[in-house]
Amino acid sequence: MLLDIITNNSITAPSEPWWKVVYDFSSLTKWVDTSLHSSMSSFWATITEMLIIGVLILLFYALVGLFLVYAERKVCAFMQNRLGPNRVGPFGIFQTIADLFKLLFKELVPIKNADGFLFNLAPFIVIIASFMAIAAIPFAKGLHAIDLNIGVLYVIAVSAMGVIGVLLAGWSSNNKYSLIGAMRSGAQIVSYELSVGLALITIVIMAGSMQLSVIVEAQRDGWFIFKGHIPAFIAFIVFLISSTAETNRGPFDLAEAESELTAGYHTEYSGIKFAFFFLAEYINMFIVASIAATVFLGGWMPFHVGYWEGFNHIMDFIPPFIWYIGKTFFVIFLMMWFKWTFPRLRIDQLLTLEWKYLLPINLVNVLIMAFIVLMGWHF
């Protein structure tokens, strides 16, 4: 059953202190699973579980999206000596909700010579791609929708699907700017997918598994970024750069490059369809950041320092979900920091960066990492 898969790999040692038991979500999910199965047939139980998870993820998705838009606006405002949104609610926290309502009620402008079906399909592809990727992310111990044994591969594969939506959007809106933006985005994602994959492979070599929960468990005694010497750190930096590029965010936002292509592939979209693109961008950022947090920064694992028992206990006391969110938002903050500092690259420089710098570095890095692991030199 679905939740069986979820709880399969969460191992709780019997001598754990009480808070570790409380923070372990596997018992909760197990209980939901068994109670559902006892009250209905296994088919309907699975359907219900799917629905529950779907609704929960949808809620989470919306909340994260709203919050990230707000956070981005505040962060960039503070970097630019501004206050940012400050009118709707205290510190403007309801600003994005107001914006959401505005976008919901806005007119969906029909484009005369657009390819209607593809034009309407594109935002859904983009949003579904990001929606699918979120399923594999472990939020806390035992708290993820599906724990595939090829989790890393799955996330890479699914998050790359978004580019189809972007390409469709650019093509079908019959706008020259959009088409240029879409083509740029295609070239960009095809190349940067490589770096993302290789950077993750560096860690997969260390962890010996592609299953995200196993990767997290392997970091119990130290995060991979610390365990893997310099190669892991380089992989982290490379992952950060290439994943920023993959999510089409500044300084790699060539697909929408507003000073060149007005708004790139979503120039012709309005209202809620535009909101889909907008939301997907932020969710993609969240997914990428949480992958970085999971793979490099230990996911929901607390921060431990060697033999400082007291310190480690205090760290353990903070719930894993907080750890996970904290790490994710740290990475997101880094990405925002990039965006609001650097000028944009040109398309040929973008590809140069990938093929001339990131890819060779990455290949050498994988090699070194493999060597380190073979020799057992890592911690």
């Binding site: 060539l254 292509l261 650097f342 000028p343 398309i347 040929d348």
Partner: protein, 374 residues
């Protein structure tokens, strides 16, 4: 009527034609560029201007000389003060009025402040053209301080209308000197930050070095002046060659670079900001005593003849050519606007570069569209 019909259509030339503007984030106003692309490469651009043509030259023919000044504000709105000064100097030259030193010094300080604020806004928008949005806010934040100085003394922030034939409208505000000194102290600290944020950046170097090269010969032949021309090594600083106001009594150096690419145009402007601060520092403590305006006749009539005055605005050489027939209205006024001439070189230097470079080169030319259209 006169429109030439080109025989070969863009489709046949296998070009991808896009319209940049009149409403486009990086054309800085209502400039329309018809860009022919081949892939990402720019094959040809054709500027279409005139969207805000107000006929200032025609309007000038029906108003008096003091009234012209408020129109010149609205040409190159970022060098409003220098534009005003050009007309005033021309009128004063025609009437052979002796201008006291105090007025000259005040005008020079104001001109240099105008130049700094113009370059600040250029830096802000240039950063934004390249995709660094934070630059925009830093540039405007610092520009605000100069605008406050203007507001306190002139009453206007951007369109100051501070000059009048024979002097300036009001005396400088008692706080003026202190505020200017404070600003220079502040800006000397801030300007290196501009460098760290944008021009020290490896991405910026990649984006600007070797992009849009303009050779010295072309710069002279196209008549490109201002920082754009000086970045190509064209010594065209009117402040040096034909000093007006107080520029003959101060020491400053003309910023000359030889590369002529986007990067050197950038550096030329940043250096000009430093140089302007030097000029202001030389003058701000030595404003001579005296009247702030010479008493002029209520109705100014220029003797019959032709008068030409060149000044150095933030963007290049502004020429004011007045033909007078002895009336209170000029017979013909021609403004040789720097932006109009600088625009003509755009197509020449942009060919073969990419769309992103088109934006960068356009930003580095620093065009102000109302000055082109007039």
């Amino acid at each position: 009527m006169e429109e030439e019909v080109k025989n070969i259509t863009p489709d046949e030339r296998q070009e991808y034609v896009i319209n940049m503007g009149p409403q486009h984030p990086s054309t800085h106003g209502v400039l329309r560029l018809v860009v022919s692309l081949k892939g990402e490469i720019v094959k040809n651009i054709e500027p279409h201007i005139g969207y805000i043509h107000r006929g200032i030259e025609k309007m000038c023919e029906s108003i008096t000389y003091p009234q012209i000044i408020h129109l010149t504000d609205r040409m190159d709105y970022l060098s409003a003060h220098i534009n005003n000064e050009a007309v005033c100097l021309n009128v004063e030259k025609a009437l052979e009025v002796d201008i006291p030193d105090r007025i000259k010094v005040i005008r020079t300080i104001m001109s240099e402040l105008t130049r700094i604020q113009s370059h600040q806004l250029w830096w802000a928008s240039f950063g934004m053209d390249l995709g660094g949005l934070t630059c925009f806010f830093y540039g405007l934040r610092d520009r605000e301080k100069i605008l406050d100085i203007f507001e306190e003394t002139c009453g206007g922030r951007m369109l100051v209308s501070y000059n009048c034939p024979g002097g300036v409208m009001y005396d400088i505000h008692p706080n003026f000197q202190k505020r200017v000194k404070d600003f220079i102290k502040y800006f000397r600290k801030i300007l290196p930050e501009y460098d760290q944020l944008l021009s020290g950046n490896v991405i910026f170097h990649e984006r600007s070095k070797g992009i849009g090269k303009l050779s010295l010969e072309d710069a002279i032949s196209y008549g490109v002046t201002g920082p754009t021309g000086r970045a190509s090594g064209f010594s065209c600083d009117v402040r040096k060659h034909e000093p007006y106001s107080a520029y003959d009594r101060i020491t400053f150096k003309e910023i000359l670079h030889t590369e002529g690419d986007t990067y050197s145009r950038y550096i030329a402007r940043i250096d000009e900001m430093w140089e302007s601060m030097n000029i202001i520092e030389q003058l701000i403590d030595n404003i001579p005593e005296g009247p702030f305006a010479v008493k002029m006749k209520p109705i100014i009539k220029l003797p019959e003849g032709e008068y030409y005055q060149r000044v150095e605005t933030a963007r290049g050489e502004l020429g004011v050519y007045i033909i007078s027939d002895g009336n209170k209205n000029p017979y013909r006024v021609k403004f040789r606007s720097p932006n109009f001439v600088n625009l003509s070189v755009f197509n020449h230097i942009v060919k073969g570069f990419k769309i992103a470079d088109l934006v960068a080169i356009g930003g580095s030319l620093d065009l102000v569209i109302p000055d082109i259209d007039r």
